[in-house]
C-alpha cells in the first residue's frame, strides 16, 4: 500500500445493529483499500462479557458471522483489508469464528491479527480510588457489581496489527475514530508528532463512524431536506492523501446524498466542546474545519487541528444495576387520555399496595408526551398508548409493572386494548473512569495456521 498517493477507507458498520447490505456494495463497487466495521455501543462489551462467562467461545459480536459472510468474498478477491471491533469481549474467539467463515466460503486459511489489552477489569479492581466521571464517586461504589472494564484503545496498536500483514484485524474496545485513523497512519507512516495529519484523519474517522449518517440517513425531512432514493442509501468512504488531505465520498450508484449539510451534522454529532474532542490519539479541534463540495457526493475536509493525546485512557466500566420492567396498553376515542391517566394512577396504587418500590419510575402517554415530556397546549390525540416503566433491584417488582398494566384489560377504566406481555430486562449500566496510560498494555496476536 505504501507508495500509493491516496488510500480509500470505507465504513461498513456504525453500530451493532447497522444495516449489512450497503457494506457489501461498498466492498464490491467502492474500490476501497480498507473496510472498517464499528459495532460496539457503550454497553455492548459488558453484555458480551456476560455471554463469554456462559460460553468461553462466545463474547464477540453476534453479527460478525453474517457481516463477514457478506463481504469476505469481495474483500479477498480485491485485497480489501478489514478492521473491526467486532471482537468485543473475546477478540481471539471472534478471530477463530472469522477464520471458520472464510474456510466455509472456500477462501482458505486467512490470518487474523487480534488486538488485546483493552480488558482492564483486573487493573481497575485494584484501583477502587479511581473517580467515576459521571457522578464523582469512587469506583469502589460499583466494584462489587462489576461486569467489565474496557479501555478505549487508540490507533497505535491497530497500526501494529496492520503491520503484521494480516488481511483482517479484529479488536475489542477501540475508540471509533481510531479504527479509521489506523489504516491511514499505517499506509503513510504518520507518527504521533504529525498532529495536523492525525487531526484530519480523526475528523475523517468521526465523519465515517456512523456510516449512513453522513450519506442522508438520520437526516431526511420531506420537502425540507429531501434525500434521493433513501431506501438504497450507500455507505461512505474517505480518500486520504499522505499529506492529510481528505475527501469524503460514497459507493457509486447508491441512493442518499453526501454534501456539506450531511457532513456538518455528522461532524458535530456526539461532540461536546468542539475545540476538545478527546480521542486516544489526539485532542481534536473542529472549529477551524472547512467543508467544500467538490463534486456531487464528494466533500473536501480541511483545517482540522489537534493537540497531543492525553496521558490517560477512558475506561468504560459495566456493572449490573437491577432490572427494568415495563408494560403498555392503549386507549382510543372519547376521553382516551383521561382514561389512560386514570389507569396509570390505578397501576401505581396497586404496585404500592403490594409493597413494591422503584429507584426510578416513568409514565408515558405515547402519542402525547412520551418523547418530549409534558409540553404546553398540545392537542389531545385520538388515541394514546399508556406505557409504564420502572427500575428496581427486585425482579418481582419489575415484572409486576407489566403484569398490572396488562390487567387494565379487565380491572381498569373502560375500553383498554392491546396490552403487551409484561417485559423485564437486566440492566447493565456503564460508567467511565480515566486510567493513566501506564496501567494499560495494548498487545497484538495473530491467529493463523492450523
Amino acid at each position: 500500500m505504501s507508495g500509493r498517493k491516496t488510500v480509500r477507507v470505507g465504513a461498513g458498520a456504525g453500530t451493532s445493529d447497522d444495516r449489512m447490505l450497503p457494506a457489501r456494495e461498498l466492498a464490491e463497487r467502492g474500490d476501497i483499500d480498507y473496510l472498517v466495521f464499528e459495532c460496539l455501543a457503550e454497553r455492548t462489551v459488558a453484555r458480551e462479557n456476560l455471554a463469554r462467562s456462559k460460553n468461553p467461545d462466545l463474547g464477540y459480536s453476534p453479527s460478525l458471522h453474517e457481516r463477514l459472510r457478506m463481504v469476505l468474498p469481495a474483500c479477498v478477491e480485491r485485497g480489501v483489508r478489514i478492521v473491526t471491533n467486532m471482537g468485543a469481549a473475546n477478540p481471539v474467539g471472534g478471530a477463530r469464528a472469522v477464520r471458520r467463515e472464510a474456510r466455509d466460503l472456500g477462501l482458505g486459511d486467512i490470518p487474523v491479527a487480534v488486538v488485546l489489552g483493552d480488558d482492564v477489569a483486573s487493573v481497575v479492581r485494584g484501583r477502587p480510588d479511581l473517580t467515576i466521571m459521571e457522578n464523582g464517586e469512587p469506583l469502589e461504589s460499583i466494584l462489587p457489581k462489576l461486569v467489565s472494564a474496557n479501555a478505549y484503545l487508540g490507533a497505535d496498536v491497530v497500526c501494529e496489527a496492520l503491520a503484521t500483514g494480516a488481511p483482517i484485524v479484529l479488536t475489542g474496545r477501540v475508540a471509533d475514530p481510531s479504527l479509521f485513523l489506523a489504516p491511514m497512519m499505517h499506509a503513510f507512516d504518520w507518527s504521533y508528532d504529525d498532529l495536523p495529519k492525525l487531526a484530519q484523519g480523526t475528523a475523517a474517522g468521526h465523519l465515517l463512524e456512523c456510516t449512513a449518517s453522513v450519506t442522508g440517513g438520520c437526516f431526511g425531512w420531506p420537502g425540507k431536506k429531501d434525500v434521493p432514493d433513501l431506501a438504497r442509501n450507500g455507505y461512505p468512504f474517505a480518500d486520504v492523501a499522505a499529506d492529510g488531505a481528505i475527501r469524503i465520498g460514497k459507493t457509486p450508484d447508491t441512493g442518499g446524498r453526501l454534501d456539506v449539510m450531511t457532513c456538518t451534522e455528522q461532524l458535530i454529532y456526539e461532540m461536546h466542546d468542539p475545540q476538545a474532542y478527546i480521542t486516544p490519539d489526539c485532542v481534536l479541534d473542529i472549529t477551524g474545519i472547512r467543508l467544500v463540495q467538490e463534486a456531487p457526493d464528494r466533500v473536501r475536509v480541511e483545517g482540522a487541528a489537534a493537540r497531543p493525546r492525553t496521558g490517560t485512557y477512558k475506561v468504560t466500566v459495566g456493572h449490573a444495576d437491577g432490572y427494568i420492567g415495563e408494560g403498555e396498553v392503549s386507549y382510543g376515542g372519547i376521553d382516551a387520555v383521561a382514561r389512560a391517566k386514570w389507569a396509570a394512577e390505578i397501576v401505581k396504587e396497586r404496585l404500592r399496595l403490594q409493597g413494591f418500590s422503584y429507584d426510578d419510575f416513568r409514565v408515558d402517554l405515547i402519542g402525547l408526551s412520551s418523547l418530549h415530556g409534558d409540553g404546553d397546549a398540545r392537542p389531545e390525540p385520538y388515541e394514546v398508548r399508556l406505557r409504564m416503566a420502572g427500575r428496581t433491584p427486585d425482579r418481582r417488582a419489575a415484572h409486576a409493572i407489566g403484569f398490572e398494566v396488562r390487567a387494565m384489560h379487565m380491572h381498569g377504566p373502560g375500553g383498554a386494548g392491546g396490552a403487551c406481555e409484561p417485559r423485564v430486562r437486566d440492566v447493565l449500566a456503564v460508567k467511565s473512569v480515566l486510567l493513566p496510560r501506564q496501567f494499560v498494555n495494548p498487545q497484538i496476536a495473530v491467529e493463523q495456521g492450523r
Binding site: 457503550e42 425531512w221 456538518t264 455528522q266 427494568i324 456503564v430
Partner: protein, 105 residues
C-alpha cells in the same frame, strides 16, 4: 412575525452518558448572527424544561455556520439505565427546531 429555528437551521441530537448534544446549523450563513443573538442558552433551557434539568452550554462553530448545544441531565440517567423510549434522545433535535424566536429587528 416570529420565526422558528426550523425555518433557519437544521439540527441533530447526539448522546454521551446523561448529556445530549444538539447541533444547530444555519442553512444560510447570513442567519448565524441572528441565531447567535436570539438562540440563547436561557431560551433553549426554557424549551427543554420538561425534558432536561440542564445546565445548557453553547459552543460556536462560525466556520460551519453552526452551534453546538450541550444539555446536561437530559437522558434519564443515560442510555443504559434510562426508562425512556427514546433512550438516546435522538428525537430531541425536534424540540430545538420548534423553538420560536422573536422577529428580526
Amino acid at each position: 412575525m416570529s420565526v422558528r429555528v426550523y425555518d433557519l437551521a437544521h439540527a441533530r441530537a447526539g448522546d454521551k452518558g446523561n448529556t445530549s448534544n444538539i447541533s444547530v446549523i444555519a442553512y444560510d450563513g447570513k442567519d448565524w448572527d441572528f441565531l447567535r443573538r436570539e438562540l440563547t442558552c436561557e431560551r433553549v433551557m426554557q424549551a427543554f424544561r420538561h425534558v432536561a434539568k440542564g445546565p445548557v452550554r453553547r459552543y460556536e462553530l462560525r466556520n460551519l455556520n453552526a452551534f453546538n448545544f450541550v444539555i446536561e441531565n437530559a437522558l434519564g440517567g443515560g442510555v443504559t439505565i434510562s426508562l425512556a423510549q427514546d433512550i438516546h434522545g435522538k428525537s430531541l433535535s425536534n424540540v430545538m427546531l420548534a423553538i420560536e424566536l422573536p422577529e428580526r429587528g
